[in-house]
C-alpha cells in the first residue's frame, strides 16, 4: 500500500475524486472471469465462485428433495445446536458491531468521504433511504410489525414458568412481567426494538461500510473479499477470498429464500382470509380453488399451488425490475414501497389510538434504553427460550442478510461521509423501526387491553397484521394495501438480492451481462419454492439461515478490524495532503 495522489496502480488506474488512499494490487478486476456465450446469452462469471456456489446450492436443494425426512431431521438438529450453543457468540458480535459503529460516528475518522474527498452522492436522500430500507427490512416489518410486540407482550404478561429440570419453559423476555400490563407492554416493546433497532442496522452498516470503503476509496472490486485486503493481502484473490465470497453468496441466497418464504406465506394467508372462501375449521378454506390456511384438525393439507403461484408471480416482477436496472426498476419500486408504507403507517397512526401510540413511541424508546443492557447481555441468561428462539435466530438472520443488504447499501452510497453514512444507515432506520413497531404493535396491544379484542392475540403470526387492520375502519382497503406491500417488499428484496449475488459471482463486475441477473433471480425463486414445499418448509429455510449466519458472524468481526485499518490509512492520506493545498 502506498500513499498516492498521483498515479496509483500498475495498470495506471487513476484516482477517485480528491485525496484518498488507494491500495496497490497486482489484481485486475475480472482477470479470473470466464467470458463467453450460451446461445444468444452472453456471460461473464468469476471462476470458481460462480460454479462452486451454483453447484453446492443445487446439490443442497436436490438433497432436500431426495431425502426429505433426513433433511428435515438434520435441519431441526442444526437449528437447535447452533442457536443453543452459540447464542452468546451471536449476542456478543451484535454488541461489538453496535459499539464499533457508534464509535465511528463520534471519532474524527467519521469525516472520511466514501469515494474520495471530493466525491458527490449518486442518489438524493429520499431515493437512497427508500432503497436501503426496502432492501434491509421490508417483509420482516410486515410479518413481525404486529406479531412480535404482541407475542412479547403476551409472554411477558404470562410471567415465568420453570420446568422439572429447573430451566425456564416460558418464552418471556428477561424476567417477564407477570400480571402487570403496563410493564409487559414496556418490556414487549423494548424486546422488539432490541431486535429491530441498532443491532441489525449496525450489522448491515459494518458490511456496507467495509465494501464502500475498499471499493470506492481503495479501488478494489465490489465484492466481500476486497474488505479483507488489510488482513490477507494478495491472498484475497485466491482461495481464502473465494471462500469468503462463496459464503456470502450462500448467506444471501438462503437469507433471501427465507424472507421469500415468510412473504409468500403471509401473502397467501392474507389473500385466503380476505378474499378466499370457506372456513378454516371445516377444511374448505381456499383462494381461487386452491386450499390454504385450513385448521390442522380438519385434515385438509394446504395446496402448495398458491405459494408456487405467488413466488412465481413475484419473481417475474423482480425479473422485470432487474432487467430494467437500478434506476429504472429497483429505485422506482423502492419508492413506491416507501410511499405505500408511509401511507399505511399514517393511516394506522390516525385511525388507531393516536395519542396512546405517540406516547407508546416515547415510552418504548425509554424502555429500550432501560432494558437494553439486560437484553444485550450474552452471559448467564435465564430466559433461554427468548434468547435462543428469538434473539439468536434474529441475529443469525440479520447476519446472513448482511452481505446482501450491506453490498446493496454500499452500491448506492458513494459520496457520503462515514459519519453521514452511519447516521443514515444506523440511527434513522432504527428510529423508523421504533416508530413502525410502536404504531403497529402498539395498536394491536391497545386493541387487546382496552377493547378485549382477542383476534390479535389468537391469530397465527402471519395473520396478526390483518387481524389488527380488521378492527380499524376501511379494513378492506388497508388490508389490500398490506398485501400489496408484502408483495412489493418481496420484489424489492428479490431484485436487489439478485444484483448483489450477480456482482459477487462476477468477481465484482457490475456490468456483467443482464442474463446472469435473470439466472440468479429465477434461481432464488426456485430455491424458495423447493424448500418451502419440502419436508420442513419454513423451518428448513430458517436452519439454513442460522447455519450460514454463524461463519459470517466471524466475518463480521474481522470486517470491523479491516474498516479500522482502512480508515486509518485513509485519514492519514487526507491529513498528509491537506497542508499542500
Amino acid at each position: 500500500m502506498t500513499d498516492t495522489d498521483t498515479d496509483t496502480s500498475p495498470q495506471g488506474i487513476p484516482d477517485p475524486d480528491g485525496h484518498h488512499h488507494a491500495i496497490e494490487t497486482e489484481y485486475d478486476i475480472g482477470q479470473d472471469n470466464i467470458e463467453g456465450s450460451l446461445g444468444p446469452f452472453g456471460f461473464d462469471i468469476h471462476n470458481p465462485v460462480f460454479l462452486v456456489s451454483g453447484v453446492i446450492v443445487a446439490a443442497f436443494v436436490f438433497f432436500t428433495l431426495a431425502l426429505p425426512d433426513q433433511a428435515g431431521a438434520l435441519f431441526s438438529t442444526l437449528f437447535t445446536f447452533v442457536t443453543g450453543t452459540f447464542d452468546w457468540f451471536f449476542l456478543s458480535v451484535g454488541n461489538i458491531v453496535v459499539l464499533f459503529c457508534l464509535a465511528l460516528i463520534v471519532l474524527p475518522v467519521g469525516s472520511v468521504r466514501l469515494g474520495g474527498a471530493d466525491a458527490t452522492p449518486d442518489y438524493g436522500y429520499v431515493g437512497w433511504f427508500a432503497m436501503l430500507f426496502a432492501a434491509g427490512m421490508g417483509i420482516g416489518l410486515m410479518f413481525y410489525g404486529v406479531s412480535e410486540p404482541m407475542s412479547h407482550f403476551s409472554t411477558a404478561l404470562g410471567g415465568t414458568t420453570t420446568g422439572p429440570d429447573g430451566l425456564r419453559t416460558d418464552w418471556a423476555p428477561l424476567g417477564g412481567a407477570a400480571g402487570n400490563e403496563a410493564e409487559a407492554v414496556r418490556l414487549g416493546m423494548a424486546a422488539t426494538i432490541y431486535h429491530w433497532g441498532l443491532h441489525p442496522w449496525a450489522m448491515y452498516a459494518v458490511v456496507a461500510l467495509a465494501l464502500a470503503l475498499f471499493s470506492y476509496n481503495k479501488g478494489l472490486p465490489l465484492t466481500i473479499r476486497s474488505a479483507f485486503y488489510p488482513l490477507l493481502g494478495e491472498r484475497v484473490w485466491g482461495w481464502p477470498g473465494h471462500v469468503i465470497d462463496i459464503l456470502a453468496v450462500f448467506a444471501t441466497l438462503f437469507g433471501l429464500a427465507t424472507s421469500l418464504g415468510f412473504g409468500a406465506t403471509q401473502a397467501a394467508n392474507g389473500l385466503t382470509v380476505l378474499y378466499g372462501t370457506g372456513a378454516a375449521e371445516d377444511g374448505t378454506r381456499a383462494f381461487l380453488g386452491m386450499p390454504f390456511g385450513n385448521a390442522e384438525a380438519s385434515g385438509v393439507v394446504d395446496s402448495g399451488a398458491l405459494l408456487v403461484l405467488l413466488i412465481t408471480a413475484i419473481t417475474a416482477i423482480a425479473l422485470i425490475s432487474v432487467i430494467r436496472g437500478l434506476d429504472g426498476g429497483v429505485k422506482i419500486l423502492s419508492e413506491i414501497n416507501m410511499g405505500l408504507a408511509v401511507l399505511l403507517l399514517g393511516f394506522v397512526l390516525l385511525a388507531g389510538p393516536t395519542l396512546a401510540l405517540i406516547q407508546t413511541f416515547f415510552s418504548s424508546l425509554l424502555a429500550y434504553g432501560e432494558y437494553l443492557p439486560a437484553l444485550a447481555n450474552p452471559f448467564g441468561r435465564e430466559d433461554t427460550n427468548f434468547v435462543q428462539g428469538w434473539t439468536a435466530f434474529y441475529w443469525a438472520w440479520w447476519i446472513s442478510w448482511s452481505p446482501f443488504v450491506g453490498m446493496f447499501i454500499a452500491r448506492v452510497s458513494r459520496g457520503r461521509t462515514v459519519r453521514e453514512f452511519l447516521v443514515c444507515v444506523l440511527l434513522i432506520p432504527s428510529l423508523v423501526c421504533v416508530l413502525w413497531m410502536s404504531v403497529f404493535g402498539g395498536t394491536a396491544i391497545q386493541q387487546f387491553i382496552l377493547d378485549g379484542y382477542q383476534g390479535v392475540a389468537d391469530a397465527p403470526l402471519e395473520l396478526k397484521l390483518f387481524e389488527m387492520l380488521a378492527a380499524l375502519p376501511l379494513a378492506g382497503i388497508t388490508s389490500m394495501i398490506g398485501i400489496i406491500l408484502v408483495i412489493v417488499f418481496f420484489v424489492t428484496s428479490s431484485d436487489s438480492g439478485s444484483l448483489v449475488i450477480d456482482t459477487i459471482t462476477a468477481g465484482g463486475k457490475i456490468d456483467a451481462p443482464v442474463p446472469q441477473r435473470v439466472f440468479w433471480c429465477s434461481f432464488e425463486g426456485a430455491v424458495a419454492i423447493v424448500l418451502l414445499l419440502s419436508a420442513g418448509g419454513l423451518s428448513s429455510l430458517q436452519s439454513m439461515v442460522i447455519s450460514t449466519g454463524l461463519p459470517f458472524a466471524v466475518v463480521l468481526l474481522a470486517l470491523c478490524l479491516c474498516i479500522a485499518l482502512g480508515l486509518r490509512t485513509e485519514r492519514a492520506a487526507i491529513k498528509a495532503a491537506t497542508p499542500a493545498q
Binding site: 475480472g30 452472453g42 465490489l222 436496472g325 457490475i510 451481462p513 443482464v514
Partner: protein, 137 residues
C-alpha cells in the same frame, strides 16, 4: 452530409472496435465531421478503471491515440456515469446522442456489449431521429 459522428466505445473490449473505428475515420475525413467517443461506466471500480474519473482519463487517452491513427486532428470524448451500466446503457446512449447533438451514430455490433437481451444499435435507431450505422465485425 454529417457534421458530428458519435462512436460508443467499450474500453473493456477495444480490440473488437477496429472496423467501426476505420469507418468512423473515413466518414469523418470525407464529411469533415467532428467525432466524439462515448463511454459508459458505473461508479464502482471496474475492469477498465477504479473510478469514473479514471475512466474519463482512459477514454481521453484512447481517443488521443485513435485520432493520431485515423489521421484526425482531434477526437472529443463524452464519458457517462450511470448507476447500473449493464441495464442503463441504452438510455445512456440515447441521452448522449441528444446531449451531443450528433447526427450519425456508428456502432460496432459487439460494442459496447455483445447482444444481451436486445440490440443496443437497434434501440438507439428506434429511439432517436439520427442515422445509425452498425458495423459488423
Amino acid at each position: 452530409m454529417f457534421k458530428h459522428i458519435m462512436l460508443p466505445v467499450d474500453l473493456a473490449h477495444p480490440d473488437k472496435l477496429n472496423r467501426a473505428l476505420q469507418v468512423t475515420g473515413d466518414l469523418a475525413r470525407h464529411h469533415d465531421a467532428r467525432v466524439t467517443f462515448v463511454g459508459v461506466t458505473g461508479p464502482q471500480p471496474g475492469s477498465v478503471a477504479a473510478s469514473p474519473e479514471g475512466f474519463a482519463q482512459k477514454l481521453a487517452a484512447f481517443a488521443a491515440i485513435q485520432a493520431e491513427g485515423l489521421g484526425l486532428s482531434m477526437i472529443e470524448t463524452h464519458p457517462v456515469t450511470v448507476p447500473d451500466p449493464a441495464a442503463d446503457l441504452d438510455r445512456a446512449l440515447e441521452r448522449a446522442v441528444h446531449d451531443l447533438g450528433a447526427d450519425l451514430v456508428v456502432m460496432g455490433s459487439h460494442i459496447p456489449r455483445r447482444f444481451d437481451l436486445g440490440s443496443h444499435g437497434g434501440r438507439v435507431a428506434s429511439h432517436t431521429d439520427v442515422s445509425v450505422m452498425l458495423v459488423r465485425g
